[in-house]
């Protein structure tokens, strides 16, 4: 306890320097927490999305990326084959959709994803939790139902007209809260309208509900074996794929934040080293009185540790606040909270801070503990 008091008093004796060091570690830890929170957020958002999405398998043309917008390359025969073998494949129900993207693709406000649903299918078949916010749920026969997120983002209201092509314009007849970030950014329209705009009778995707007792992964494999030229992507497979991508992202983000962390560590080392040199006489007195090397080693090491720990804790706090600011933006922009500070991330950040303190403190602690009494007290 008194050792802690000695450390705190020493840090308080040099307030500006201690504060600047603390700030350095704070910024380093906060940036690391914020960087890594994207990976955690993506994981959380993704698993939440998958549970909100109704169909367990999406069948697309071979070569379509797991999260890509599929081209209308599935002919009617694919649907026919799947329907014919539904029982044997383990398919409970299925329906096709035609998808079309208009706009830049970069700015969510000016990007429009038209999701063409066949007759009898409503957004509820895609996202079972879907609720009407205004107007109606079913886009048929000739309306557009806009996801809540999309409506807010692009200021779309009932009665406004959306243009799929030069010849095809559809009035907005409903605003829907699909309960999921992805589906809330869609504009649901009759499938025929999309097919007409794309000048095709093909489908972009066939969405499949798996029969009870069947595993989505196995059904997907069977579909691929039965129908040549298609990819059957199950949601679990998509999660696995995304997890791999997120993990790679994590490593890259940690690598970037490592630079900030190393700078933070050097700051601590510099502060503690300077403090050691300034206190050589003090350590000499302690040794003269009878302090063992270990006592002085711990005193200096704990000083570094305390700086790193408090900077780390404050950094985690700032990281959490930063993550909430990021989420405010991403929720507005894409309907997903992309950043999450999970307990394991907090633990990891604190572990990194402790390691930082230990590594930064070892050399100054060693120097301090090896000070010669007669040199320190000028008794040579």
């Amino acid at each position: 306890m008194e050792t802690l008091l000695l450390i705190v008093r020493n840090l308080k004796a040099r307030p500006v320097r201690s504060l600047l060091t603390l700030l350095g570690i704070l910024v380093a830890t906060a940036s690391m927490v914020l960087f890594l929170s994207f990976g955690e957020g993506l994981r959380k958002a993704l698993s939440a999305e998958m549970t909100k999405f109704g169909p367990q398998i999406r069948v697309v043309a071979e070569g379509t990326g797991t999260f890509g917008v599929p081209n209308p390359e599935l002919g009617p025969e694919v649907l026919k084959t799947l329907k014919a073998h539904a029982d044997e494949l383990g398919i409970a129900r299925l329906f096709p959709a035609a998808v079309m993207m208009k706009g830049s693709g970069f700015d969510p406000a000016t990007t429009f994803l038209f999701y063409g649903l066949p007759e009898g299918i409503t957004p509820k078949d895609l996202a079972p939790a879907a609720k009407v916010v205004a107007g109606r749920l079913d886009p048929h026969p000739d309306g557009a139902v806009v996801g809540k997120q999309k409506a807010e983002q692009s200021r779309l209201t009932l009665g406004k007209t959306l243009r799929l092509s030069r010849k095809i314009a559809i009035p907005i007849v409903g605003i829907v809260d699909a309960g999921s970030g992805f589906a809330n950014s869609f504009i649901f329209v009759p499938m025929q309208a999309v097919q007409k705009a794309l000048n095709t009778t093909n489908y972009s995707v066939i969405l499949v509900y798996v029969k009870e007792g069947f595993a989505a992964d196995e059904v997907a494999e069977k579909i691929e074996a039965r129908v040549p030229g298609v990819d059957a992507q199950s949601t679990t497979e998509a999660v696995k794929y995304a997890e791999r991508a997120i993990r790679i992202g994590d490593v890259i983000r940690f690598g970037i934040s490592l630079i900030a962390l190393i700078v933070g560590g050097l700051l601590v080392a510099n502060t503690v080293m300077m403090s050691v040199y300034e206190r050589i006489r003090e350590f000499g007195v302690m040794r003269a009185i009878g302090a063992r090397r270990g006592f002085i080693f711990r005193l200096v090491l704990f000083e570094a540790l305390l700086l790193a720990l408090s900077g780390g804790a404050l950094g985690v706090g700032v990281g959490i606040a930063g993550s909430q600011v990021v989420n405010l933006y991403t929720t507005h922009a894409v309907g997903l909270a992309l950043s999450a500070v999970t307990p394991r991330l907090v633990l990891f950040a604190m572990l990194v801070a402790v390691t930082l303190g230990l590594v930064a403190g070892v050399i100054p602690a060693r120097v301090a503990s090896r000070i010669s009494v007669i040199e320190a007290l000028g008794r040579v």
Binding site: M1, E2, L5, L6, R9, N10, A13, R281, E282, V285, M286, R287, A288, I289, G290, A291, R292, R293, G294, F295, V373, I374, L377, R379
Partner: protein, 228 residues
């Protein structure tokens, strides 16, 4: 056989200075009896070197030094620190209090190192500060105290673990005569029972108060003067 409390046998220290060897202390032999022993001599006579060796701050080139029966010459640095903690107290010329601790905490510091429980530490530190007349300064930091007061706190700290040997190196050197006198009286009062007080000084008036005077010159003990 009785263990030597403070004894030097043929204590010698040689330093290398460039190409030459300087003999700072030449074969010093003495068994300090209880009471106050003053070590005097001009600058460079080896007083500080002698104290460094007797306290175990440094190791001799040759010879033996015993503190509370422990052969300092044969011990490692940490072991010597342990012996100092338990058996020796120090009062330096420039006070050397820890600047971030209050007077009370400074006095309690050696007890903290020894692992004395907090309550007992505070009680003893309070009593010691009362003994040196500084009860009203307990919560003051060294920078808030006068030189004389700092030196009295240093004396209280030196007595914290009731040492067998009290080393005082020019304890009045940086003080005005009134403060110096008070500090000296306080130090002399500590020579009780088996305790040895070693007073290094070049002030003849201070030395005159000791029970015996060891005179050093060019690193050698040239005279032992017993006072009646």
């Amino acid at each position: 056989m009785k263990k030597p409390i403070l004894q030097a046998k043929n204590l010698t220290k040689r330093y290398r200075q460039g190409e030459a060897w300087i003999e700072a202390l030449k074969g010093f032999t003495y068994d300090f009896p209880p009471g106050v022993t003053a070590v005097v001599g001009p600058s460079g006579s080896g007083k500080t070197t002698l104290l460094n060796l007797l306290a175990g701050f440094d190791t001799p080139t040759e010879g033996e030094a015993y503190l509370a029966g422990n052969p300092l010459h044969a011990l490692g640095e940490d072991e010597r620190a342990g012996v100092r903690l338990l058996h020796a107290g120090f009062v330096f010329q420039s006070w050397n209090l820890l600047p971030t601790l209050t007077a009370l905490e400074n006095v309690a510091f050696p007890m903290l190192l020894k692992g004395v429980p907090a309550k007992a530490r505070t009680e003893r530190a309070r009593a010691l500060l009362a003994e040196v007349g500084l009860s009203h300064r307990e919560d003051h930091f060294p920078r808030q105290l006068s030189g004389g007061e700092q030196q009295r706190v240093a004396i209280a700290r030196a007595l914290a673990l009731d040492p067998l040997v009290l080393f005082a190196d020019e304890p009045t050197g940086n003080l005005d005569s009134a403060a110096g006198k008070r500090v000296l009286e306080l130090l002399l009062r500590q020579a009780r029972g088996e305790r040895r007080v070693v007073l290094v000084t070049h002030d003849p008036e201070v030395a005159a108060r000791a029970e015996r005077i060891l005179r050093l010159k060019d690193g050698a003990l040239i005279e032992i003067q017993e006072r009646p």
